[in-house]
């Protein structure tokens, strides 16, 4: 009996210990730093407790970053799910088995690309003079310049499109595979019940896939939080602060512009708390 209870512990303890060190130590340290007034330029510091947090709520740039983050989250998650479901259903309806395999392979490639590479590829594609993505605009307008990445109104969507290109196409493959796992009889029954093609999906197949689709959406929501590399390469938060998300702003406050690591840590801590609360609430709602 003793031997039995000993074995799981043997395996669990080292892993958990490493996990604890790797995740808890930085987290706790960030919280500690957030309560101080450390700056990279000076070695000394003192405890300021919650004044960093109070300052944040008076910082218009921080509030902008919150808004940009929320926009980024909504735009990428919604667009990814729309593209995934749209393309997945389209493949399911139109393509034969061999063509489906081909598209699946094709649609998985973008997500295999490292984010930084994808960002560089698209940054060039959006180049106002040479980019392939802006080429149709030049062609139609006879050479007018359109620079989506340096216009405040379009920059966020241009960056988001890369995210959707990577994840929307990949999720389309997953949606197709999910549709293929469904039993064919309810679909046939719906055809006999006068349902049109789109009605079959709207009323029968997609509701049947509700649980896996919600899981997919959660995966994408968590993935969307980690937008830093994409934005850093493509716009660095610009033009102005149009694409400056929270992680971007925290990074530039901490390491680029002023070296206020305590201020940046306070932001990170706030972000963590907000994320945990939001996701817990969403998860509870979905479960109910």
């Amino acid at each position: 009996m003793r031997r039995r209870s000993f074995l799981p512990v043997t395996f669990l303890v080292p892993t958990l210990a490493i996990l604890l060190v790797l995740s808890m130590v930085p987290t706790l340290y960030a919280i500690v730093i957030a309560l101080q007034n450390r700056e990279l330029s000076t070695p000394g510091y003192s405890w300021v407790w919650f004044s960093n947090f109070a300052d944040l709520f008076l910082d218009r740039r921080f509030l902008n970053a919150v808004w940009v983050s929320v926009k980024w989250e909504i735009v990428t998650v919604v667009a990814t799910m729309v593209v995934a479901i749209g393309l997945g259903v389209l493949m399911f309806e139109v393509a034969g088995p061999r063509l489906r395999n081909f598209y699946c392979l094709l649609f998985i490639i973008p997500v295999l690309l490292p984010r930084v590479s994808a960002a560089f590829v698209w940054k060039f594609a959006y180049h106002p003079l040479y980019g392939i993505a802006t080429y149709p605009y030049r062609l139609v307008t006879g050479g007018l310049i359109f620079d989506p990445l340096s216009k405040a109104s379009t920059a966020l969507f241009a960056v988001a499109s890369v995210d959707v290109w990577q994840w929307g196409l990949f999720f389309a493959v997953i949606v197709l595979k999910l549709l293929e796992t469904l039993p064919p009889q309810p679909i046939e029954a719906a055809r006999l019940d006068h349902a049109r093609r789109w009605q079959i999906h709207a009323y029968v197949t997609l509701p049947m896939l509700k649980a896996p689709l919600i899981s997919l959406m959660f995966v994408k929501m968590i993935e969307s939080l980690r937008s830093f590399d994409l934005i850093y390469v493509m716009t660095r938060g610009g033009p102005g602060v149009a694409t400056e998300t929270l992680d971007m702003y925290a990074f530039s406050q901490g390491f680029i512009e002023s070296g206020k690591v305590s201020y940046a840590s306070a932001m990170a801590v706030l972000m963590m708390i907000a994320t945990v609360i939001t996701f817990t609430m969403l998860w509870k709602r979905v479960q109910a």
């Binding site: 046939e188 055809r191 006999l192 006068h194 349902a195 009605q199």
Partner: protein
């Protein structure tokens, strides 16, 4: 006017032909059962009527209208599937109402019709539940309700009772029979269970390898099977087949085989002297013979006795051939005891040994 007509219908998947040049017409209000072993094409044929499978060749018409290129929804049919095929995320009410909603029937009318249908099938207490909260029999009843509510010209049933346990199957079979009696809707029913076929059908269409072997009422098919396949497929326990050689004997015929000579008048059959034929006789048609009885006798020793309750199935060897007789349980012999069975001449079937076709005169 017939409700369904199939003329020269073919179905092929690539190079494999599943149904070959099939001709069939089904009358209005008729209950027709497609019966056959697995893979005979009966379900495929039904799905072609429903529009769920393309028709490779020939023409199918329902209610006088050619439906080859019509969508399933436009054919005026309703189908009940083997595994119910309910929409799992919808309540029973929504399941039943789905088809009407797609046809934009006003909500008030939908409510009324769902109520009427669920009353007929005793589903009223379950309308608010999900399919998974219902038993198999109840789910199949919901599937039938979903088909009924569309008031179709034709009902199609694809092995609807196969997923139910034996007791429930009997119960649902009776319900389906009652339903047909009251609605009189033309019905096509696919099954591999001959009991279902015999009890439900006005006419049975017996299929094998995509070809119709025989069409007829249950009694016709049982009493006058057109060939050896039909004779062997219909009837439990299975018909005994004994290979014999026919020879002239006075006014009648002598059939030599299985270590014995049987003499029959043979007026009802096409026989030629020296023909090789197969004698078919159903186990219940064999009767225990008295020790001093003459006439046609099959003798042997009981090898195997299967007790059925009222009856017992006695299998004995006669001239190296296994023969079964279904006798009342009280006449059941001991194992390995000698047995003597006789039969009435009217109860025998004769088939051509090479073609397997019945030798009976029409």
């Amino acid at each position: 006017m017939s409700a369904i007509t199939c003329s020269h219908v073919d179905k092929a998947y690539g190079a494999t032909t599943v149904i070959r040049d099939l001709n069939l017409s089904i009358e209005e209000h008729e209950f027709v059962v497609f019966l056959g072993p697995s893979g005979c094409g009966k379900s495929t044929l039904l799905r072609m009527l429903a529009g769920l499978e393309d028709i490779s060749g020939g023409e199918v018409s329902i209610g006088g209208k050619v439906v080859n290129d019509l969508d399933p929804g436009e054919r005026g049919i309703a189908m009940v599937f083997q595994n119910y095929a309910l929409y799992p995320h919808m309540t029973i009410f929504d399941n039943i109402a789905f088809g009407l909603r797609r046809q934009k029937v006003p909500a008030a009318e939908i409510g009324k019709r769902v109520e009427a249908v669920s009353k007929t099938l005793g589903l009223e207490p379950y309308l608010g539940r999900k399919p998974t909260e219902l038993s198999g029999g109840q789910q199949q009843r919901v599937a039938i309700a979903r088909a009924m509510i569309k008031t179709p010209k034709v009902f199609l049933f694809d092995e609807p009772l196969s997923n139910l346990d034996a007791k429930l199957r009997n119960h649902m079979r009776v319900e389906i029979a009652r339903l047909h009696q009251s609605l009189k809707t033309t019905t096509v029913y696919v099954t591999h269970d001959q009991l279902e076929a015999m009890t439900l059908a006005d006419r049975i269409v017996l299929l094998k390898d995509g070809v119709i072997e025989q069409i007829g009422s249950p009694a016709e098919i049982y009493r006058r099977p057109g060939n050896m396949f039909v004779a062997g497929f219909i009837g439990t326990p299975n018909m005994n087949f004994i290979e014999v050689t026919a020879g002239r004997a006075g006014n009648g015929w002598a059939l030599t085989g299985a270590g014995t000579v049987l003499s029959i008048e043979g007026r009802g059959f096409h026989l030629q002297h020296g023909d090789r034929a197969v004698l078919g006789i159903r186990p219940p048609d064999l009767k225990t013979a008295n020790a001093d009885a003459g006439g046609n006798l099959l003798l042997g020793a009981a090898d195997l006795i299967e007790f059925h309750g009222n009856d017992a199935l006695v299998t004995f060897g006669s001239g190296g051939k296994e023969i079964s007789a279904l006798v009342p349980a009280r006449e059941c012999p001991d194992l390995r005891a000698p047995v003597r069975y006789t039969f009435e001449q009217e109860s025998i079937h004769l088939f051509d040994a090479t073609t397997g076709m019945s030798l009976r005169k029409q």
